[in-house]
Symmetry: C2
Subunit: 454 residues, 2 copies
């Protein structure tokens, strides 16, 4: 026979079903939460005029490696394809954006605002909360140096957090030009990377040890180290900090420009009514050494600061210098989907339903299958999601299924109800049951769901 | 300096930005259409109670290859990873579903209804409309043999097509048990695969040549070949065809069961009010040799039949026999995203905007940047998407940008308007311009967009 029945013999040799180390299956419950989070992010991005793009999962290795060198190489899932090409799976969405922008420069035009929600792969050692496959959720404005784009980036982050459902969060902002300006005045520009590397540890090891490291490793004098640390040690309202920075960096054009841009940003937030206590000016944050050149953003949940920044980014001068001589400055940020989902889970912001539908229509009487299916279709036409249980099983079993999956209402009709032209609506949360005439079914369901919501 | 300015020297050696053969970048316009199509599909799936899942892009090659053999192997992007594992990128979503169902059997429970929208990769020779990377959009109900699930699958296909915006389409339905029953009565069960291979060409080469091939290649007698072709050559309404098939297959239990199941399906469609002229019973369609065992679906656009089926699927007895002794029968179908997008393009069902926002707020006067950003925030809070142009450029340039991207309204205010507390709303389609007080701005925009829609 061309279609063999299922082979249920336990002795048949089979392949053990397993996922690769560092890779995950997503079950319906967490997946519903993930889809909802991505939908929210896309809604917010679009509301600001960011458009979606997509790029291939596989690229020429040469493109992904760029000048990344050995460290990036180790992280790549890289191989030779059937056409003997050296290819690799993308490890972020920034390099593909750079390649894309250079390749389609004339089609997309500048300024160009895009979001990109897509999977990336890194052959890293898996750890708690770190996987070899995860989704990135980036937005960028490229082709402009205008501070307006920097301010808007902060507005996007604020809206993202609000719309996801967070109320208590802090967006830390900095501008790399502050530190660069200071290093210029201290004539330490050439030691910048070493200084930044030390400064990055400030939160972990404290100012004393950072000062020590700056002397021992970066080659600063004690006085210079103190000067750098004093910049990072600003306290007060953003206005107070900016006034103090303005004085301190008055002799540096770069530094003064950084102060001016931050001032515009905080002013615009005030005019737009973004709660000031969510914003924090933190001259110590750097976010990597080579890439960012201007504004920098990090976002922390007040209740869960230990999970780290959930939305980070900044301004860069040169996105695509590897691929084009056209200067492509830009600003953007990335939403940390996995971290956010873990946080939402912990803060009880995720519904625990694994069902995509609200109503289960019980398959009570096999003879009425067509009526069940037709009724479910009528319910769905009114915008109410409705699943018909597949098999005419005992009602108890179907109610258990409904309960386990998190349906809110079960719709039941047997011979009596069909004779009377009625339906039973069972509310799974309250256990209450209501009998309604068939012609009032849709309205009753809508009412029950609305009451249920309240 | 640690943050070098862009290197615009045209002589700097650069990497040529290029995508791999058979892979595509997605520009914002087509991407907006793709996202909308996927959103619609997900809405429909969820309304029937299908829940989302996801699986890794990379799996053990052994799992993906299964018993597929050489042909599947050639199509795989397969390599050895850093941990010396033989891995490959998924080439469909069916094998991953089988592995997933076997692995998480007790977590997910049965029946299990899932949808899966994800990218797959095939190292095939690229052709027009065929790529090495594309998205599949599948839904399945597994763990039940109930015909209710088969009928619902057809309801889902109908709703998908309607909600996407198609009105003229035909869903061709068959049940493999008809042909299997006939072959049983003709004692040709062992030749089934050969017969099916010939029958699959009926649309292309016609009944005479198929009869020839059945004799020459499948080893049938002329009489047997005619018997098989007679089954495929049923004309009339579904009821007429089913009556004729019932008589013809009366001596085969398998065949009679197939007829009965199709009768239930067509009856349920009638009760539910699905237009009968959309449904066609076609005993000739087979859809592959080994996998499907019961109901079969194909969907054609009446205006573009040449692009082939845009949504196909069927019932299978044994999803995961490779991985578990637990029998997992099921039924499902797959939406052909790329084909549908091409068809929608051709039928004018795709809007040509490349902007995700409706309103562009012109950056007219650099001194009012904060007010522009605050106003855009107010507009967005009312649910209207609004982009602020990044740079204070000449208005003509900004209007050109708005026009090219497909914005509907442009919001303008300069010194005069700020003095009067008003805004200019420019409708890009009509060219009309309206001056409104600031406190009526949001309502006026909503009105303009609503009028515009009509």
């Amino acid at each position: 026979m061309n279609s063999p029945a299922a082979d249920t013999n336990p002795d048949t040799p089979r392949i053990k079903p397993a996922t690769l180390k560092g890779f995950r299956d997503h079950l319906p419950g967490p997946m519903l939460a993930r889809e909802q989070l991505i939908d929210t992010a896309r809604d917010v991005y679009r509301s600001f005029g960011f458009s979606p793009i997509d790029t291939p999962a596989l690229e020429y290795s040469e493109i992904l490696l760029g000048k990344g060198g050995e460290e990036s190489d180790k992280q790549l899932f890289r191989f030779t394809d059937q056409g003997n090409r050296d290819v690799a799976m993308r490890f972020d969405l920034t390099v593909p954006l750079a390649r894309y922008a250079a390749q389609h420069l004339h089609e997309i035009g500048m300024p160009f605002k895009r979001y990109h929600v897509a999977t990336v792969w890194r052959a890293e050692k898996p750890q708690k909360g770190r996987y070899r496959e995860f989704i990135q959720c980036d937005f960028d404005t490229i082709g402009t140096t205008s501070n307006t784009a920097d301010i808007e980036t902060l507005f996007v982050i604020n809206d993202l957090m609000e719309r996801i459902g967070f109320t208590e969060f802090t967006i830390r902002v900095n501008n790399r030009r502050l530190l660069n300006g200071l290093l210029e005045t201290l004539e330490l520009t050439e030691l910048a990377n070493g200084v930044l590397r030390c400064l990055d540890k400030l939160g972990k090891i404290g100012p004393e040890q950072v000062a020590d490291e700056m002397q021992q490793r970066a080659g600063l004098s004690r006085e210079q180290a103190d000067g750098v640390l004093a910049l990072a040690d600003c306290h007060g309202t953003p206005d107070e900090v900016l006034d103090s920075l303005e004085t301190r960096l008055a002799h540096s054009e770069t530094g003064s420009d950084g102060v001016q841009k931050l001032r515009e940003l905080f002013d615009a937030c005030q005019v737009a009514g973004i709660p000031q206590d969510r914003l924090q000016l933190d001259p110590a944050i750097a976010r990597g050494l080579d890439y960012y050149t201007g504004t920098i953003y990090e976002t922390f949940l007040d209740q869960l600061p230990e999970i780290g920044s959930v939305c980070s980014g900044g301004r860069y001068d040169d996105l695509a210098g590897l691929f084009t001589s056209q200067p492509l400055p830009g600003v953007g940020a990335s939403l940390g989907l996995d971290r956010l989902l873990a946080a939402m889970q912990e803060l009880g912001l995720i519904q625990h339903s694994t069902s995509a539908a609200e109503v289960l229509l019980a398959h009570f009487d096999a003879d009425h299958c067509a009526q069940y299916l037709a009724t479910a279709r009528r319910v769905r036409a009114a915008g109410i999601s409705c699943e018909v249980y597949t098999d005419p099983r005992p009602l108890g079993k179907q109610l258990k299924y409904a309960d386990r999956k998190g349906f809110r209402l079960v719709l039941i009709a047997g011979a009596d109800e069909f004779a009377n032209g009625t339906w039973q609506i069972k509310d799974l949360a309250s256990g209450e049951q209501l009998e309604v005439p068939d012609d009032q079914l849709v309205d009753s369901l809508a009412n029950s769901l609305a009451t249920n919501d309240a």
